[in-house]
Every structure is written in structure tokens, then in C-alpha cells.
């Protein structure tokens, strides 16, 4: 890593990280490919969940052993929770098991788009923040909701790029741009909906601090190569943002000097 990248730390609550790519651990073809893809992504933070064991199996233990062997920081989620009560109880169980105050808070409001129930989200965020959790809320680009989440105690916001698993990229560029402008000092993470590395680069070029994705890597034909591609795209987008891109303009302007041209 060069000096330029080393100085570019991102703080989530009291934790500083250098990797701005957060990666989910679900849907990979095999545990071996998951491990190799996580290494290729250079992610420092991975999302995990809590589930029942099926049929008396012990899949959870071997999965947890794999994650711990990779030395990664975990961000447990409340995926699938549809009520405040479910989300709060799941967060409490996650803290007990994973030993971290971090929680990716999802309160899902409807099935078609897996859109956040922002009313339940704010309520659950307040309960959890008051209880000492460091909440990473999965939200929309709605500024009013965002203000209420910050008021509840959240110090990170994670607006969706597009619906979970859709791979549509950044659906609402105007809204995301407005969110960045409105909260210049809050860590903002695009969570969900990214399908291609170019979309991750675009998020960074908008000034977003990090991206969180799962399906785009896990369901790629070659997850390890795609993890590498996302890592490169995140680095390119972030570096470009820090390098201050030129302003677009409507008319052409010659890049080759006009002065000294022959036949004039």
C-alpha cells in the first residue's frame, strides 16, 4: 500500500479501517471460494448473521471457525427482521455471540423491494444506541430519516444503492448526491444493490466513504476474480475522488495546444 492510501483511514465509531469494501459472506459456491474471495477483496469487515441450525447439523460452528481463521472484523446483521422487537432481540443475541457492539440494523418493510421500514428502523436504532450498540442502519436516501437516525445515536448511515440483490447500481443519483452534501462529516456506506465494479467506483466518485456488497461477488461466475475487480474499483473510485476530478462542461476545449499549429 502506498503512502497516499495509508493515510486514508475510515473511522466507524472508534475503529479505524483502511479497506473501504465491506463484503457479505452468503451465497458463495463453497467455503473455500468464500475464503479465497474474502482474501482477494482485501476486506477488513464482513457481514454475518444468526440462524437456526437445520436438521441437527452444526454448519454454524464450521462457518464461524472459517471467519475467525481469516482474522476479519464481523458486522452482524438483523437480516430478515420485520419488527422492532425481532430486530432488537436479534441484535442482542448477536452481541452476546459475536462479542461486538456493532450491528447492521435491518428492519424490512415489504417483500418486493426489501425496502427498509424506516419508522421501525429509527425506533430500533434508538433502543439499540441507548443500550450501547454501535448501529449501522440500512436505510434509504431520505434525509429526514437520516437526521432521525443520527438523532437516535447512529454515527454511520448506510443508504441503499438499489434493492438488495438487484445489481442495479445507484438508482437515485440525485438523492445520494444530496445525502452526501447534507452530511459531509458522517461516514456514508452504500449498502446493497451494487452489481458491477463500475458502480462501486461511481459511489466513491460521489464521495461515499465505503460500499457493502455480497451478491455481486458471491454470484459472479468467478467470485475470486470479481472480488479482486471490486477491490480495484473501490481503490480507483476513492483515489479519483481524493484527486479532485475536473468539472464537466458542455462545450469542447482542445487538449492539444492551439498555439504553434501549422497552416494558420
Amino acid at each position: 500500500m502506498d503512502e497516499f492510501a495509508k493515510k486514508d483511514l475510515l473511522h466507524f465509531y472508534d475503529v479505524a479501517v483502511t479497506s473501504r469494501l465491506l463484503v457479505g459472506t452468503a451465497q458463495y459456491p463453497s467455503p473455500a471460494i468464500l475464503a479465497e474471495a474474502l482474501r482477494a477483496s482485501h476486506a477488513e469487515i464482513v457481514t454475518v448473521s444468526l440462524r437456526r441450525e437445520a436438521g441437527g447439523g452444526r454448519a454454524g460452528e464450521s462457518f464461524w471457525e472459517l471467519i475467525r481463521s481469516l482474522g476479519l472484523r464481523v458486522l452482524p446483521n438483523t437480516a430478515g427482521c420485520r419488527t422492532v422487537k425481532e430486530a432488537v432481540a436479534t441484535a442482542q443475541m448477536a452481541r452476546d455471540l459475536f462479542g461486538t457492539p456493532w450491528i447492521k440494523l435491518e428492519v424490512i418493510g415489504e417483500e418486493d423491494l426489501l425496502a427498509p421500514d424506516v419508522f421501525g428502523l429509527v425506533e430500533a436504532a434508538r433502543i439499540l444506541c441507548d443500550d450501547g450498540f454501535h448501529v449501522f442502519p440500512y436505510t434509504t436516501e431520505d434525509l429526514v430519516v437520516a437526521e432521525k437516525l443520527l438523532d437516535a445515536g447512529c454515527k454511520v448511515l448506510m443508504p441503499w444503492g438499489a434493492p438488495i440483490g438487484s445489481g442495479r447500481g445507484l438508482n437515485n443519483l440525485f438523492g445520494l448526491r444530496a445525502m452526501r452534501a447534507h452530511f459531509p462529516d458522517i461516514p456514508l456506506v452504500i449498502d446493497a444493490g451494487l452489481g458491477a465494479p463500475s458502480q462501486a467506483a461511481q459511489a466513491f466518485e460521489l464521495g461515499y466513504d465505503a460500499v457493502l456488497l455480497n451478491t455481486a461477488i458471491a454470484r459472479a461466475g468467478d467470485p475470486v476474480a470479481m472480488a479482486r475487480a471490486f477491490a480495484a474499483a473501490c481503490d480507483a473510485g476513492r483515489t479519483a475522488f481524493r484527486a479532485l476530478p475536473m468539472e464537466p462542461r458542455d462545450m469542447a476545449e482542445p487538449s492539444t495546444p492551439v498555439l504553434g499549429k501549422a497552416f494558420t
Binding site: L50, R52, G60, K85, A89
Partner: protein, 65 residues
Amino acid sequence: MKIVLNGEAFSAQSSDLDALLAELDYEPALVATAVNETFVRAKERSATPLREGDRVEILTPRQGG
């Protein structure tokens, strides 16, 4: 005693949550627990009696996005 374990009927021999984990051969540090939709901390399991009809959740780490 008949309880509901992870959504399915189960006939438990144990009288408290800690003993139930042992009965099921779970490693206590690798699970999270709830009874009747209320979270039960690891250190509170032995003091959490099971009663007929209780709904017990035992969750383990899993892949997530």
C-alpha cells in the same frame, strides 16, 4: 416437557436453558439464545427455567449479507 425448539415441537429432558444446550450437545459459547422471543444472555441461561410450551430459539453464526 414439551417445548417448541427453533419452531418445532421438542420433548426436553432439561429443566433450564443451560442444561438444554448440553442435552442438545451445543457448544455454549457458539450459540445465542432466546425464550419466548426474549433474548437470554449466556450467563443467565442456568437461571432460566424451562416451562411447558416455552418457545426456545438457539441460533448459531451463519453467512450473511
